[in-house]
Symmetry: C2
Subunit: 357 residues, 2 copies
DNA sequence: CTGAAAGCGCTTACAG
DNA sequence: CTGAAAGCGCTTACAG
């Protein structure tokens, strides 16, 4: 029951009135001062802010919402199943949550409801959510698409929105994928395979393009038999690895278009008795594989201590915190009516681990 | 842009006034009718409800919150890191989310903030959250403990709260653990080991007690060397498995106190060249292991098609949806001032998979 | 059982 | 730059 600055316990509710009175101004002025509106004498503003702090004042969200039409609550949209299955979704939620916290926005979880239409209607109608950050993994769900087309402001994060009227924060795919493959070439690998994502998706296609770019840059001819289609799921990585390692001329390196598939590839290598990185190097994309994952695949006898700065799986790491922050920033700007560019991109980073050294 | 029943687009805002007018009653009566308050003529109530539905009315949450002091928003509390690492946390969130949806409660994500105290103070002060469901995995975090001790109503889910003044929904541990071990005995296993959770935790201690119960019931003497301490993390399961399988009298079955450790045990078995369930049967607890996990450990050559009703890992499945629903129900009753029992328990189910057949 | 009225705690034109 | 006042859309005593 440790107390706040002013020592009050529950929703003991220091109101704007209280602050105004203590500061010797009207509640209108107090409101303006606290909200950073212009047209308040600096000295007055300082006083109000000080008083508010010392009283431990927090604006009542409901009242603010009702008066202003803004709730300072944003939603994060994800299909329910992705929360437990997809490490990408979890990472995204965390980063959006942190960003929302920093910007003093509440974060509501919108996992979608059984009855299509219901969720969206609810969101639209009860006005508690100002706008939504939509994970790109949610795209394609009927209710999510409906949400994006609805009047509620939305920002898609994790992929370039196809629709020209939708805001999005995307990660650069092609260049970083090329960098990952170049890293393999520079490590002496020559037969470099790739396991792609579903190629109708732009990110998947771009990562494949990056793969081709890198080989071209190093004057390595592309062997089309080394390009195996996957679907971003672990199982497809396993299958692709089986195909590649079971062939007569197995690759000496594999670039998987995401970490989940890379895990599958690593497991496949183990099943074929191949060592990593000795026989084959593996590189992923996303940076979502965990040290715990290594415990299961255990590609190297030296497994175990996975220092924070020396991960086991080489991968192109998505800048999740930047993605989340940019998405929330963009949404707030949209809400304020001063939108920035429609699509913003952030740069991922190649993090070299033990799987390619 | 598919529209709702009444065809309005955005927050076009059908208000209580609109409903009242259309129904020919006052807004007070309309409010009472819609909220199920008693003292409204049935016929009137029916009319109001009908009108509201046909107009697509949804109460403005902010207004309701301001007037009633209740927001119909509950928080779900989880330490941030658990979202991506711990499948238990994700499962819990999903179930709480579904329950909240069904009960028309908004769900706010409270992952905690860097600065201790800040999160709790925010929650308390801005009054947007009526109460919180706290995942037991969050217990021990300073800000979470602070939250539980604060005046905001809370329900702990997933373990029996130690404090006598805290409400909780717990899962039965001892009996089901005994059932799991009995299942192994009935399968002909005799040297049954267990990997425990941290024994200062009640759930861990209870699961160990269940293990002893089952052996006693079958007149099998407990070999203390077959009881290995773990910490609920995958790594500790791997280490425990290494100890057990590396000994001179390895067990023919292992009961791990959770699925994460069971995964580690399975991986350890593979490293020792043991087949599952041939050489050793493995049983877990929680039901959080996924088919994807099997792809990595691949304990059986028959891996692959993991039918929904035939999982690979035998495990005591927690009834997550029931846990979530009960937690939310309990919280709402607390908020309504008519709390039920302080601790409620739900029964998990032993689900037999291929790892013990 | 029903309605008129006050009020929840803010924000925001509107005057000054 | 500041204040008095209205109003956001509900709920809830208080009368009747």
């Amino acid at each position: 029951m440790s107390d706040g600055p002013a020592g009050e316990g529950a929703a003991s509710a220091v109101t704007l009135q209280d602050v105004a009175r203590a500061a010797g101004v009207s509640s209108a002025t107090a409101s303006r001062a606290l909200n950073g509106r212009e047209g308040v004498r600096p000295a007055v503003r300082a006083t109000v802010v000080d008083v508010a702090r010392s009283l431990g004042y927090r604006a009542n969200r409901a009242a603010r919402n009702l008066a202003s039409g803004r709730s300072s609550i944003i939603g994060v949209v994800l299909p329910s199943r992705h929360l437990s299955v997809d490490p990408y979704g979890a990472s995204l939620i965390q980063s959006v949550s942190r960003a929302a916290d920093q910007l003093d926005q509440g974060l509501m979880l919108v996992l979608g409801s059984a009855q299509p239409g219901v969720t969206v209607q609810h969101i639209l109608r009860d006005g508690i959510i100002d706008g939504v950050v939509v994970s790109s993994v949610a795209l394609g769900e009927p209710w999510v698409d409906e949400l994006i087309e609805s009047p509620i402001p939305s920002v898609v994060v994790g992929s370039r929105p196809e629709r020209p009227d939708v805001y999005g924060v995307d990660v650069e795919n092609r260049g970083p994928a090329a960098a990952a493959v170049s890293h393999l070439v520079e490590g002496g690998r020559r037969r470099i395979a790739t396991v792609t994502g579903p190629l109708h998706r732009r990110d998947a296609a771009d990562r494949l393009a990056g793969y081709r770019d890198a080989l071209a840059a190093h004057d390595i001819e592309v062997d089309e038999s080394l390009i195996v289609a996957g679907d971003f799921n672990r199982r497809s990585g396993l299958a692709a690895g089986g195909t590649l390692f079971g062939g007569d001329r197995p690759p000496d390196a594999v670039f998987a278009a995401n970490d989940e598939m890379a895990l599958g590839v690593v497991a496949a290598a183990a099943r074929h008795g191949l060592t990593i990185p000795g026989d084959v190097a593996v590189v992923g994309f996303d940076g979502t594989a965990t040290p715990e994952d290594e415990l299961l695949v255990r590609f190297s006898t030296a497994a175990g201590d996975d220092a924070e700065d020396d991960p086991w799986l080489t991968s192109v790491h998505q800048p999740f915190s930047q993605l989340g922050r940019t998405a929330v920033d963009t949404l707030l700007e949209l809400l304020a009516g001063k939108p920035r560019e429609r699509v913003q991109t952030v740069e991922p980073t190649l993090v070299v681990g033990r799987s390619s050294r």
